[in-house]
Structure formats: C-alpha cells, structure tokens
Symmetry: C2
Subunit: 347 residues, 2 copies
DNA sequence: CTGAAAGCGCTTACAG
DNA sequence: CTGAAAGCGCTTACAG
C-alpha cells in the first residue's frame, strides 16, 4: 500500500519557468555581436581584452549558460557520451563495483564538459533502440559495459564509426574495439599461486560466465599455474551469490577432497562460504577460499575474503581518457591495468 | 604499472562518421514536405494514411532517427532529466541499493523517451555547476538523490521553477518539493517491535547521519516504540561499515549489558557484527542485531541479517512517474511507500 | 579584432 | 490534410 498525500497546501499555480538568457542578451549587454560572444566562449581567440572583459561581466550579470542543444546543432557534436549497460539478467547490479565505475566515468567526463547519458540494454529490443540512438549522433561516443561476446552492439557501432571504449576485454573484438581491462588472467594466476603457497593441493575453481572475459581469462590464469586439472574441479557460475553457492555444493559432491577453491567473484565466493559452512567445512582450515573483485562483500563475510583488487577508479579514468582521445580522432588502443592480491582471513 | 598496447594493427584511418539522414531525406523519399513528416512523427494528427505509410517506409529505408538537439531547440524541451547525486563523502557508493535506484529510474524514463543524465555533486563547486546546468534548461527536470538538509540545490532549483523530485524526504523542504520516500519511521518501529518480541530488554541503536531523513526518521521510530531511552543507547554512524564497527564498540563499552541493537543500515550492521565478534558476543544469542535496507550485504554476513526491505524498484518507478507528471504541469505531491521486515538469523 | 549572414535539423502556427 | 516560412540559439567561414 502506498499513500499519495494530497498536493502541498502552500503550492499554488507553479510559476512558469522563466526563459533563460541567450547569447543575444549577453551580446547586447556587452555591446558586441553574437559572434564575438561565441568566440570569447570558445577559446577566446580573436577577441580583444576589452571585449573579453565586457562579455565576462555580462555573462555573470545575466547568469548566462550556453544552450547545449543549439551548440550541438551547430557543431554537430553532442558533448555527451553514452554509458551503455548490457545487463546480464539479474547478475549485473549485484556487483557494487559497477557503481564505482559509473561514478568515476561521470566525474572524469565532467571535467571535460561532457555529460554522461545512462542507457540500459536489458532486452534485445532495448539494445536496438540504443544502437539507433547512438548511431544517430546523439552522443559523441559510447562506453560499453558488461557487453557479452555475441552482442551486435560492437559491430553496429563500429560500422557507423562511433567511437567506442569497452570496459574489459571485448571478446571477439579485441582487435577492432578499444578497451581498458584489468589483467584478469594475471590476477587469477596470483590467487592460485597464493593458494598453492599455502600448501593447498586440490584447488578447484568457480568461473564466471564463459562468454564474458572475466569468465574465460580467470579460468585461463588458473590453468596457467596448474596446467590441465581434473575437469571436475571446474564449475561455472553466473556471478550471483546463489550460483556460487550451488557451484560449491556441486564441487563438494564431486570432489570431496578439495582443499581450496578460487572463485571468480566475491559475491559468488560469499555463496560458496555458505555452502561450505553447511557442509561442515571450516574456512580456511579445511578449505581455503579466494575471491575476486575486492568488493564490499569481501569484508562483510566471515571470514573476510582474500581476494584480487581491481583498480576501478583508475579504470574509469582511463576509459574516459581513451574515449575522449578517440573522439578527437586518435587511434584505437588497449589499456591493461594490473590486479593486486589482498590477503585476508579466508586463505 | 599499466601497459598501453600499440594501436591495433588492423586499424587504418578511422572512417569518417557518415552524416545520418535528416528529416529532409525522409520527406524527399516519401514525396511530402518536412512539416508533414514532423507531424507524422509527433502523434500523426492531420496526416493522411497514404502519407503516413510512405513516411513509415522512408524512415525504415533511410534508418532515420530524429535529431534530439534540433527537436529540443525547437520545442524548448530537453527530453532528458538529470539524476543529481549529492555524494556524502565516501559513504554514498558503498550502498549498492543506489545502483538499483539509478537503473530503475533510467528504465522508467526510457519508456517515455526521456534520457537520464548522471551528474555528481561531490564538491560545493560541482553543485554550483550542476545548478547552473540544470536551471539553464538543459534538462526538463531533476531527480535529487541523497541531498543533505542544508543543500542550496533545493532552493535554487525551486526558485527557477525546475521540476524536482527528491528521493527520500527532503528535510526542511517537505512542503515545497515533491518526493517519494520509504516509510523509514514505520520500518524502524517494525524492527524495534520485532526485537522486543524476541524478549530483548536493552535495545540500543546506531543511527545514520542526522541531517539525512534515514537518520532522523529511523531514530524517531525507535523512540516511538521505546519512549525516551538511556541516551547512552544511541550512537551515530555515517552509513559506512567502519562507522558501524566503531559505534558498536562504543556502545559495548558504555552499555555492556545491551542485548539488542537496531542499526540503521545493513552495511553499518556488518561493521557492528565485526565489533561484536571481537568482543566475544554471540549473535543472536547474546545480542540481536537488526539492519535496514535488505542490501546484498544482508545475506553475505554470518549470521544473515534480519532487516527492513525497501522497495527500491517501486520507488524508482514512482520517482520517474512523479517527475514526468510535474513536467507536464501537474501539482507537486509526496508519495510514501511501506517498508517490510525480513526476518533472518541475526535476531 | 569584429560583424553580418548562412546554416545546423527540427516544430508549429498560418493559410490554403 | 498539406506546404511554405519563421524561429529555436548557437557556430563559423567570410569579408572587412
């Protein structure tokens, strides 16, 4: 039940929104032409100090702010960027790290006077709508986040020449779309080596979805250290806590003598802890558990998770930087950031 | 260390972005005037079925998408809405629920062809910049999230007649800005009553910041049930996990015989659990712990948290609906949604 | 260094 | 039901 209160008593007819001042108002007040104001605003080249000063005053007196729509129409530049979230069913927003990424990108772009449009491609239909929106030139570029391997977005945006930067390695498009990624494979290697250095012999792993880079690369890192392993040691989850719990249960059933598990995300690791506890295994005494992400969840569990930290703030800054560079006509590039082991109580 | 790989080998000069088709192209292909195309697009009134059909075909053949900047310039409507995040230092993004809110708003707005601009008011300077941006008519309205009591944003946007909807009760502006809130006070009452029904006698509380509605209202609910209590039973945190831990430690020191604690957020409750464990208190045997939010953290802790669920998806939908109504000239309103107790293992 | 003018792509009375 | 035309607020060669 919800209660919708009656309209606020104090509110009469809402005041009509006053028309904001335009460049004409500023020009008139400063005693110059519209063109000169525009030039003063855009770099200030070819404007005398006197005019500059008069304009500055007029702007502050009128409270003038440039109308981005008009500017965009004239320049054919949107001064905005789309943050396209391809949501894997349910799993996506479970990871609090993505909000850090989102915030970081918005702030990095704001510095360059770019605004961030948030779009969510939940369904295939959404995806199509967004693709049209983006290719229609409403934005200058796009940030692709959590986009699965088979998504048509890569090809569509590429074909239209829209500058794009992917978050994480864009599987199948490593060569034709720019990206900034964490070194997932090396992170996985670090964790598995760490587990081995603790004397563990039967090390299992719970992977993420294998059409996402975090899924395949972290598994590859596992194999780098351990070589080919008993295939029963490998279970796959979908990054949700429930999937981690189910995968752990399966592993315990199939490989009862395992003594460690490397889980490809903290949230799944939290699920794994639940399954282990239920099975009466002590962590880390009987089974060591390593996570990935260093998200909030890592310190909320008991015991606290040993995990791999991803430099999210750094990553978002790099994504913004790279996209801005592409928009300015520079060549595509790939940036790979290192991952770091954070040892806590679960190993 | 980061590795910036050399440019992709396959990428030559990036293809110049082709100019997207305009309404003129569609009109020419359909054999009608631009005005008719525009009318067909905006409701289809006064357009013959034949023309309508010809236009439909031309649009699909050309892949035409309306240029929002041009449309906005002509209509004086931005077709977009700002999501203004007033970030309380560090604390904000710890709460994963906000991403659910953000996602919900974006989706609800997308249905109405509105795009969501994400802006972050970290510093006072940001806040000023955003205020100018919004009042300059770049957006049709604003969603205010986590805005502290003293923020000038309320007055500034109100004065300029910008439609605004706040997330949660806007302290000090309940009468002049629309909002949709959870019934914090009643949620707190439910939790405290629940604690009492478990036979607890010395019930402490850890509140949120007292310039945020979740801080004052949840504390008020606590008092509603318990009346005036020993002031030492009340500690204040800032919604971070660390602050919850510190507050719990303080409570244990000052009121060693407490047997329950109502914590105003799950994350702070996770911190409280850590402090309790360190002090050798069993949960719930010695001390019952109640949280608030039903966030991811609530099920990652041991024991899992009894908490108050907030209907975030519902809240975001209501916020979008209300803002759209305001933009269409309707009167301000307040919507209050119920909170629900979720009993788990910590009480 | 500066102004007049064309143009960006759309909407919307207005006349017919 | 339809087209011609003005206008939204800016930028940018162009001429001076």
């Amino acid at each position: 039940m919800s209660a919708a209160e009656s309209p606020h008593p104090s509110s009469g007819a809402r005041p009509r929104r006053p028309r904001p001042p335009t460049m004409n108002d500023v020009a008139a007040m400063a005693g110059v032409s519209r063109g000169t104001v525009s030039r003063a605003l855009n770099g200030g080249h070819n404007v005398s100090p006197a005019a500059q000063e008069a304009i500055r005053k007029a702007i502050s007196k009128t409270g003038y702010v440039v109308n981005q729509h008009a500017r965009s129409l004239a320049t054919q530049r949107a001064h905005s960027v789309a943050f396209i979230l391809s949501e894997s069913p349910d799993a996506f927003f479970e990871d609090p790290n993505y909000s850090v990424l989102l915030r970081g990108c918005a702030q990095a772009l704001a510095i360059h006077d770019m605004t961030l449009l948030l779009t969510i491609a939940g369904t295939a239909e959404d995806s199509k709508r967004i693709s049209r929106y983006v290719t229609a030139g409403h934005v200058d570029g796009a940030l692709l986040v959590s986009t699965h391997a088979g998504s048509p977005l890569f090809d569509e945006l590429n074909a239209r020449g829209v500058p794009v930067v992917a978050c994480g390695k864009p599987l199948g498009h490593e060569r034709d779309v720019s990206y900034v990624a964490i070194d997932d494979r090396d992170g996985a290697r670090r964790m598995v080596r760490h587990l081995r250095s603790r004397g563990r012999q039967r090390i299992a792993t719970i992977t993420g979805p294998l059409d996402l880079p975090g899924g395949v690369d972290r598994l590859a890192g596992y194999h780098d250290v351990l070589g080919q392993t008993d295939p029963r040691l490998i279970a796959t989850g979908d990054y949700t806590q429930a999937s981690g719990e189910a995968a752990m249960q399966r592993l315990l059933y199939e490989v009862p003598d395992l003594d460690a598990v490397f889980v490809a995300s903290d949230l799944m690791a939290a699920g794994a802890l639940t399954a282990l506890r239920r099975a009466g295994r002590r962590v880390p005494d009987d089974v060591a558990v390593g996570g990935f992400d260093d998200s909030k969840v890592a310190t909320a569990t008991t015991p606290k998770l040993t995990t791999i930290r991803q430099p999210w703030a750094r990553q978002s800054a790099e994504m913004a930087r790279l996209l801005l560079a592409l928009i300015d006509g520079e060549q595509p590039a790939a940036v790979v950031l290192p991952a770091e082991l954070v040892a806590r109580d679960s190993t």
